[in-house]
């Protein structure tokens, strides 16, 4: 596929943010994001483990970034991300998928903030002491601890993320939060039904909070079958843009390549369900199978009539607007 010059230029000049880059896959394949012109990866440094395991993963991430400086740099502000763009570096911002690292101590959130964590997803599919995940049938809302944790995240300027979170919990979290909330990597249930996708009501609530929905490329969440097209991925972008406005949609592609064994383990643990997560191998949308080819998304968005400003928004500027509004240097 040859990319039109206009698309290539737009892609090269844009700030591009991938808001969901899971742990091992990203560490092993970081060069693909660099090759794809990405400016900032929200790296899922932790989420499943407790506090002890989490700090080791964070420590290992500092080492990983340090050994790749100046090509990689940690980012805790929009200024850091724009500086990375100017220097041709890849900015790495730390993201939790889940609140297991908080255990029962919301005071630990300040430690994670001091360690550079700026985005925290409230749950991962299952119930935790704060709230329910999206695969939990009880659909419990926020607990008292959950409310304290959100207040602490608001105080510190940590972005509240409701991907993988139950519908009721998401609604209650958005209502409880004094700051914009996001779904870092979630699609539209109206386009393709899945417990992992969001009803229009939640998409609107996120937009009304000032937040963003990052569109996910994991095949089971995009379309029926196992090989979604690029247009089917873009259909989710357009749906959110239509329901909530183009300033409220962005990218959280969630590239991951687990083995059959990892898949069976996630099912056995109850972390995933077979109904929601298809088996590997997983084919990300044709044309953007991995992050190195993301320029094809820019081209196709332009081909489908998306304006240049809207494309810049979806590629990264919409994330930066939310980050800038929520993140702070001093608690």
């Amino acid at each position: 596929m040859t990319v039109a010059t206009g698309a290539a230029q737009l892609h090269a000049s844009a700030v591009i943010v991938d808001a969901a880059c899971p742990y091992d896959h990203w560490l092993e394949n970081v060069d693909r994001w660099i090759a794809g012109g990405v400016t900032c990866c929200a790296f899922t440094v932790a989420g499943f483990g407790g506090a002890r395991a989490t700090v080791s993963q964070i420590a290992a991430t500092y080492r990983f970034v340090r050994e790749r400086e100046p090509q990689l740099r940690l980012a805790t502000s929009v200024a850091d991300i724009r500086a990375a763009k100017a220097e041709g570096a890849l900015a790495v911002t730390l993201h939790f998928q889940g609140t297991n690292p908080v255990e029962y101590e919301p005071d630990l959130l300040e430690l994670y903030w001091r360690l550079g964590v700026r985005i925290v997803q409230l749950a991962y599919n299952r119930r935790n002491p704060l709230c329910d995940g999206c695969e939990e049938p009880g659909d419990a809302g926020l607990s008292l601890l959950g409310r304290r944790a959100i207040a602490e995240m608001n105080r510190l300027g940590i972005l509240v993320d409701v991907s993988h979170t139950g519908i009721r919990s998401s609604r209650e979290a958005i209502a409880a939060s004094a700051a914009p909330c996001v779904a870092s990597h979630s699609n539209a249930a109206a386009v393709h039904p899945s417990p992992r996708n969001l009803p229009d009501e939640v998409i609107r609530a996120i937009a009304e909070s000032g937040g963003v929905v990052g569109i996910n490329g994991f095949p089971s969440f995009v379309a029926p079958g196992t090989r979604p097209s690029l247009d089917q991925y873009i259909d989710h972008i357009f749906h959110v843009a239509e329901v909530a406005g183009p300033e409220h949609v962005a990218l959280g592609v969630d590239y991951w390549s687990g083995t059959e064994q990892q898949y069976e383990q996630l099912l056995a643990d109850g972390t995933w369900s077979r109904d929601t997560y298809g088996p590997p191998p997983w084919h990300y949308p044709a044309g953007i199978e991995d992050a190195s080819t993301l320029v094809n998304l820019t081209e196709r968005l332009l081909d489908r009539g998306y304006g240049e400003a809207e494309v810049r928004g979806v590629l990264g500027e919409n994330w930066l607007r939310v980050y800038d509004e929520v993140w702070r240097d001093i608690p």
């Binding site: 700090v55 080791s56 300040e110 430690l111 360690l115």
Partner: protein
């Protein structure tokens, strides 16, 4: 000079000096923190973690940040000398976070950066016992630095964290000084030549610390000062004067280590039973600090006694705090 003028001169010197207490165990300090500013102290090196593991250390640090936040008008966590001077101008107590031990690192030198990012700026290598890093001062084997210990020192140097050799074995301490590119300190240790104790340090180690550019903070725990249940103020000054005479007054400071006076018998016995200390070195409670500086609010008496014993005003300013600031200024800026 009349006696009244002499006292006035001491008061003036104390009030106009920047005073640093180089070791304040947090469990006692939280209860009594107001006694430090009452005694003219501007900066407390607070032991937020000692022999706790990593997980426990996280909760202790989180609790310390909550405590400081809840007393934000009175105190602030600092990581630079500028911040210490600014805190004094603002009338707030500057808090330096210190570890007494490397237990919280477990077997991961990479965790040093995590704790550095959490604000820790002084780390003692051992606490009386052997650790994976090196031996403590009560350990008979006298093992030096392990491979992990060398890696930890490399990280402490890279990040700019003060290496603290109190409670550390002599052999390990000498190896640490040799391995370190930055000044090392004994934040709260006394002179074995004045009073022998496994917790006190040899003249050889005092010289090595001074040669590194570091300092020795004199400890007020009576069990390390002399044979009396409660040491005199002069006995405290004897240790200070010994270090000053041996290596110069720019290499001695205070690290009084004010702690609980009457821990329960069960707490003391558990401390001994768990091997954290021996009864030969740590007498049974009640514990006392020197008469005349029994708590931090009485520290102006130390300044007066130092002048009476012939220390010059500039030397006293160094001992009270400027020597600590010199070491902080040399070590903390990093990368």
């Amino acid at each position: 000079m009349s006696t009244a003028e002499h006292i006035d001169a001491a008061e003036h010197l104390h009030t106009t000096s920047l005073v640093v207490d180089g070791t304040c165990p947090i469990y006692h300090w939280r209860e009594a923190f107001a006694t430090w500013p009452a005694g003219g102290v501007d900066c407390c090196v607070v032991t937020v973690v000692a022999y706790e593991n990593c997980r426990a250390a996280l909760s202790l640090i989180a609790g310390a940040y909550r405590f400081v936040r809840e007393h934000a008008d009175e105190m602030v966590v600092v990581t630079s000398v500028d911040e210490i001077r600014r805190a004094r101008e603002d009338g707030r107590l500057a808090i330096v976070l210190q570890f007494q031990g490397t237990h919280a690192l477990e077997y991961e030198a990479d965790l040093v950066e995590v704790f550095w990012r959490l604000g820790v700026r002084m780390v003692q290598l051992a606490y009386n016992q052997r650790s994976p890093v090196c031996d403590g001062c009560e350990e008979p084997g006298g093992a030096g630095l392990s491979r992990l210990g060398h890696a930890v020192i490399g990280e402490l140097n890279r990040l700019g964290i003060v290496i603290d050799l109190s409670h550390t074995g002599e052999h390990a301490a000498l190896e640490a000084i040799a391995a370190s590119r930055a000044p090392c300190v004994a934040s709260h240790s006394n002179a074995a030549a004045v009073y022998p104790s496994a917790r006190n340090i040899s003249d050889e180690l005092i010289r090595a610390i001074a040669d590194s550019g570091g300092l020795v903070g004199i400890n007020g725990f009576s069990g390390f000062l002399g044979p009396e249940p409660q040491a005199s103020l002069d006995r405290y000054v004897d240790h200070l004067a010994h270090v000053a005479g041996l290596v110069g007054p720019e290499h001695v400071a205070i690290g009084v280590d004010y702690t609980v006076r009457n821990p329960s018998a069960a707490m003391y016995e558990a401390f001994i039973r768990d091997g954290l200390a021996t009864p030969e070195v740590y007498p049974r409670p009640p514990w006392h600090f020197p008469s005349g500086m029994d708590d931090a609010s009485q520290l102006p008496n130390l300044t007066r006694r130092l002048l009476e014993r012939g220390f010059g005003a500039a030397e006293v300013r160094g001992i009270l705090g400027e020597n600590w600031l010199r070491v902080f200024g040399d070590v903390w800026p990093s990368r």
